[in-house]
Symmetry: D2
Subunit: 360 residues, 4 copies
C-alpha cells in the first residue's frame, strides 16, 4: 500500500464528454483503494490563482453520478495562460508563481491534469518550474494528441456529428438538396473524416487537404448528371482552399462568429445554381452530451492508471491507450508532434476507397 | 368490402419524420385490407406536372421498411405553387389544369395529400376546381394546424431540439457561458416552447411574444449577480423585438443565410461583455431523423383512417387527432385558423411557472 | 400572492421516468414563485412512518439537475399498504394513524402525491381520514388512469419498448426467426399495443384480448407459406388465452420469476417446429431511462399546476391532461374507472388496419 | 487497375450490427473503383448449397442505404456446418463438395467471408480443399478474435448493454433493489466487462473468472451495512462458479430457454432475504440495432481493405485493425488462439481499481 497522499485534479481547455468519468475513477481508486485525499481544483489554473484556491474535497459519494455526466463539474477555462495572463487593464502578466505556490500551499503530493496538448505544455512548464509531481491524461475532441490511440471526448463527438449526418441524409434526399454540416477541428480533421465516413458523407473537407471550390462544384454537377440529386458535405471549421485562403468560423474564445466556411460553401454552390443548399453549424453540441460507453471506459481506465502512476511515483508522464492497453509516456515525448489526419493512413484510404470526394 | 379503387398519395411542403410511416400504413390498409391499388406521386404536385406523371406503384413489400425511415421516399417540394408556377424564363404561370388532368389520366378514385396548412389550401383548391376526391393528413414540424392535437413530425422535431439543449447544458455549465440554440418556427413557436421547457432552457423566445434585448441582457446580469453563471437560450428562427423589428434567419427556399437571430443575440450579449456566448443553428437536423414512436403511431393511425374515409367515400376531410381518437374535419374548417402558441395556454403558463424568461 | 405554505411531496408505487421532473417543477413554482417551503418525503408513506419522518428540504438548487434524471430521487415503495402494513412478525397492521399524524407533525399545509390509481386510492383514504389537503399527479407506465390523456412515464416506456422492437427486427430478419418481446402491463396493454404499432410488430398480445395459441401458430405458418420468414411478437406480461388460462411472468414484488408468458409462447412455437424462436424480457429497463421530452413537458406542466391548485386551495383533485390543457378532476372521479385498451378505439383499429394479428 | 474480377461475399454465424456496412464498402470499392462484379451470397454457405446458388447481384444503388442498417440483408445461418450438415432424416452429411463447386460454377475469382473464428475455420477449410481465393473479415459481438483490436458488431453490442445498465441504475436506486442484467458471451466476457465498467455495475461476472455465490451475497450485505442499498450486477450468459458448476442460459440454436444464470442469481439473493431482485435478459437486442459510428467506420475500412487484398491477389488473409491501421494476417494465425478477457489486462485492472466486485 502506497503511503498517504493528497492529490489534486483539474480539467483544462475546452470541455468534452468523459471528463467527469475520469474524476470519478481517480477518486474511487485514490480514496477507495489507497485511502488518499483528492482535491478537485475548479476552472483549471484559475482555481489555483484564486486565493484561497477554489477547490472541492472529493469523496466517493460526491462523484457517484459523475460517470454519465457530460461536461466537467470542476469547470474549465480556455483563456488564461498563466505565463501571459490577461489582466483587467488589458495587459498580460506572468502569474505562474502564484499558481505554482498554490499547489504547495494546498499540500499536494501530486497533480493530475486532464487536457489537450496545449494544456499539457503549460502544465508541464509549471511542473518543471515549480517542482510539481504531474501526471497527464489526454482529452481532446479533436483527437490530435498523437501518441495515444484514444483521447477522452473524441468518440462522443464523432457519434454526435455522425448522428447529425444521419438526420440530414433523410431531408437532403427528400428535397434534392445539398446539405452542409460544419463541425469542429481547427487544425486536425479527425471528427470530419471519421463522422464523414460513418455518416455516409459524399464530400469531406479537412484542414489537412486544401480544396478547390471549382472542382467541388464540378463534382456536384457531375453527380447530378449521373442522377444523384442530393449530396452531404461535412466540413471542418477551418479548411484552406487550393489558393491558400482560409474561410474560418470563429465560434471560439472571445468571439462569436459562426457559419464561416459552411456558409461560404453554401453561397458558392447557390450562386452557381447547382442546388438548393442548407447549412447546419453543429457548434458546441459536439462537446456536450452524455459520454459514449467507449469514452466512459477509456476515462475509467485512464483515471485508475493515473492514480497508479502516482502510487508508483512515476511523474511527468501522460497516460495513453496503445495496443489495447493503458500505458504511459513522458509528457514531452507525447506532445512533441501534433497529430493530423495521416494522408496515407487508413481513414483517408477508406474515404477514397468509398468514392468520397476530398475536395482536391 | 368497398369496391375496387385506385388511390394516389403524395407528400407536400417541407419534409419531416413520419411521412414514410403514413405511406406504409396507407398501403397496408388499402392494398392489404381492401385490395386496392396505391400510386405514390413523386415530389408532390411536380410529379403530376411531369408527363407522364412520375408515380411509383406501391405494394406492401415496397413499403416494408418505411416505418422507421425519416424524410419522404416520395420526395417533396416546397417551391412550385401550381397556380403561380415559376417558369424557366422567370415568369409565373397557372399550371393547375395540367395537374388536375394528371389525376384523371392516372385514373385515380381519390388522392391522399400529406401536408401542412399551406399545402392543404392548394390541394383543396385543385380538388374543388378539378373534381378530385381529396383526403388530407396533417404534417408539420411547426405544429401549427390547430384543429388536430397531433401533426406528423412535431414530436420528433421537439425530441431533437431538446436533445441539443441537453448537450449544450453540459458545456454551458462547464465554461460559464451563454449558449444559444436557434430552432425552426417562423410563425409559431411550438418547437421552441416545448423543447425549451423539456430541455431546461432559461430563456425562450418565440414569434408570438416580442422581446426586449435590453431587458433580456438585464435578466442575464441579474442571474449572474445571484450566482447563476451560465444560461441556455432557445430562439425560434424569426422573432420580433418590442420595437417590431425582426432579425430573421432565412435558411429557407431560394436562399441560404443562416444565423440571423441567434447570431444577433450573441453579438448583443457579447458586445455588452455579459458572458462568452456561442450559437448553434440546428437547421434541417430538426426535419430529419428516425421518427419517434409517437410520430410513427400517429402516422400509422392517420394512414389507416385516411383509407377508411375513402372507403366510406367521405372526401374533402382532414384526418385529425382529438381527445385520444382519430377523427376528421372538413379541410376548410381545419385550416381556417392558424395555430400559434396560445399566450394563455398551458405551455406558456408552465414556462412562466418554472421561472423561464420569455423576453418581454 | 398566496399566503405562506409548507407543502410535502412524495412519489408512490413503481418508479418511472419523469418523477424527478415533477418534483423540480413543484419546487420551482412553490419556492420560486410563491416563496413557500417544500419537503420531499422519502420512500412514499414509509417516509412518514419513520420517526422522525424521513424528509428532505427541497430548494431550487437541490433540484437543479432533476429534469433529466430517471427514477425518483425521493425513493418509492410498492409494498407497504398503510392500512395493512406487513410487520416483521408476519402480521398485517393498520398503521394509518401514524402516517396521518406525521403530516400534521411536519406542519404541512398540503401534500402532493405522485402515483397511479392504486396509490391515489390509498392516499385519498388517508387524506379523508386524516384531514389532509391532497393534490394528486398521475404517473403510470401502464397508462391506466383513464381520465387523463397523459400520465408521467408512459411515453418513455413506449419509446424503450419500441426501440427494442426496432433492434429485434434486424436480427429476426437476418436469421429468419420469431422474436418475442415481453413488456410490462399486467392488466392493461397500452405499452404493448402502442410499441407494437410503432415498432412494426406482426403480433400483439394484450390482457384485454384472449389469444389462441393454435391460431397464433397457424398464422405464423400461413405467413411462412406466403414467403414471410420471420415475425416479431410483443406480449404483455400477463395475457389470458381463449381457455381463460393465464401464463404470467412474476417479475414483481416479493418474487423474482421471469419469462413466463414469453417463454411459454417460445416453447409452443418451437415444439411445433415452426421457427427458431428467441425471447427478450425487457423488465425494469422500461421503468428506468432518461425521461422523454414529452414526459418532461407533461411532468413540468403537472408540477406547476399542482402547486397552483394548492395556491387556490382546491384539494382532493387529480391534475390531468385533457384536450391540450392541464385541468383537474376530483380524485374519486378520476380513478373510478380502470382504463384498459379500448377494443373499439383508435389503437386497436389501427393495429387491425395494418394487418397486425391480435391473437384471437 | 486490377484486371476484371467477379467476387462473392457472404455473412456467416450470428448476425450483428455493421455487416451491411461492410457489404456496402465492398461494393463501392469493387464496383465503383475497380469496375468488378459483386455477388451477394444469401444465408452463408446455405446460399451456395442451393441449386442454383441463391445470390444477389450487388451494385452501388442496391447498397445505398446499407450503411446504417442493422443485421444482414444477405441473411445468415448459424446452423449448417458443411462438413456435417443436418439432413431432414436426422443424419449428418458432408456436403462440402457441393458448396465448393458452387463457387466455381458462379465463376468467382474470390470470396469475402465475414464471420467469427468458427466461421473462418470452416471457410478456410473449404477454401483449402476447393481452391478458393478467400479473404476474411472479423465480426463478433463477443470480440473474441484476438489478433484484431476491433471486430464488427462489438462496439454496438457494448453500447446497447451499457444503455440497459444506465436505465436499470435509476430504477434500482429508486426501489433499493438488486438489478441483474444478463448479456451475451458464452466463452468470453468482453461485453460484460466493457459494459459493466462503462455502465457503472457494482458486480461483473464473466466466464473467465469463477464466482462464489456465498461471497457475492456477503459482498451485497456488506455494502448494505455501509449504506449502499442497491446494486447492479451484469453477468455473461454462462459463468462458472468456484465449484466448477455452470448455470447457463441457452437462448441459442435449436433451443429457447432463457434466464438461466441471471434467474439463478436472483433466486439465490432472494432466498437469502438480501434484497428485492429483478432480472433483465437482454437477449438478441444486443445483436440488432443501428451500427454505432465506430462499427460503421471499422466496417467501411475493412470492406475497402478486403477488396484491395483481392486486387493485390493476397488470399487466405484476415483483415485486422491493429495500432490505428487496417492490416491483415494469415487466417490460420489470426484464429489460432481464442481471445478471452485477459486477467492481467487493462479492463480487469480498471474494474478492480474502481472497486467493482468480480465474484471471486
Amino acid at each position: 500500500m502506497a503511503e498517504h497522499k493528497r492529490i489534486g485534479i483539474l480539467t483544462s481547455g475546452g470541455d468534452c464528454a468523459g471528463l467527469n468519468a475520469v474524476v470519478r475513477a481517480v477518486v474511487r481508486r485514490a480514496v477507495g483503494t489507497y485511502g488518499w485525499e483528492v482535491l478537485g481544483i475548479q476552472q483549471a489554473t484559475l482555481g489555483l490563482l484564486a486565493n484561497p484556491a477554489k477547490v472541492l474535497s472529493l469523496d466517493i459519494k460526491t462523484v457517484d453520478s459523475w460517470l454519465t455526466a457530460g461536461g466537467t463539474y470542476l469547470g474549465t477555462t480556455n483563456t488564461g495562460n498563466p505565463f501571459a495572463f490577461p489582466m483587467e487593464d488589458g495587459t498580460l502578466r506572468d502569474r505562474s508563481e502564484e499558481i505554482i505556490n498554490a499547489y504547495h500551499q494546498l499540500g499536494l503530493n501530486a497533480l493530475i491534469g486532464i487536457g489537450g496538448d496545449g494544456s499539457m505544455a503549460i502544465l508541464r512548464k509549471l511542473a518543471q518550474q515549480g517542482n510539481w509531481n504531474l501526471v497527464g491524461i489526454p482529452k481532446t475532441i479533436d483527437n490530435d494528441v498523437g501518441i495515444t490511440e484514444r483521447s477522452i471526448g473524441f468518440d462522443t463527438a464523432v457519434n454526435i456529428a455522425t448522428e447529425a449526418l444521419d438526420r440530414l441524409h433523410f431531408t437532403a434526399a427528400s428535397h434534392s438538396r445539398v446539405m452542409i454540416l460544419e463541425v469542429m477541428g481547427r487544425d486536425a480533421g479527425h471528427i470530419a473524416i471519421s463522422a464523414g465516413i460513418a455518416g455516409g458523407a459524399d464530400i469531406i473537407l479537412i484542414p489537412e487537404i486544401p480544396y478547390s471550390i471549382e472542382r467541388l462544384c464540378q463534382k456536384l454537377k457531375e453527380w447530378q448528371r449521373r442522377g444523384k440529386n442530393y449530396a452531404l458535405i461535412i466540413v471542418a471549421e477551418s479548411v484552406p482552399n487550393v489558393d491558400g485562403e482560409h474561410i474560418t468560423s470563429t465560434n471560439t474564445a472571445g468571439q462569436c462568429r459562426l457559419g464561416g466556411v459552411g456558409q461560404y460553401l453554401a453561397d458558392q454552390i447557390c450562386s452557381r445554381n447547382i442546388a438548393e443548399t442548407r447549412v447546419t453549424v453543429l457548434g458546441h453540441i459536439q462537446r456536450g452530451g452524455i459520454p459514449s460507453p467507449l469514452d466512459r471506459l477509456t476515462a475509467s481506465a485512464f483515471g485508475v492508471a493515473a492514480v497508479d502512476l502516482i502510487a508508483a511515483e512515476q511523474y511527468d508522464q501522460l497516460v495513453t491507450w496503445q495496443n489495447r492497453m493503458v500505458k504511459s509516456e513522458p509528457i514531452a515525448n507525447a506532445i512533441a508532434q501534433y497529430h493530423c489526419v495521416d494522408p496515407d493512413g487508413t481513414l483517408i484510404k477508406t474515404a477514397r476507397g468509398l468514392g468520397i470526394y476530398l475536395g482536391e
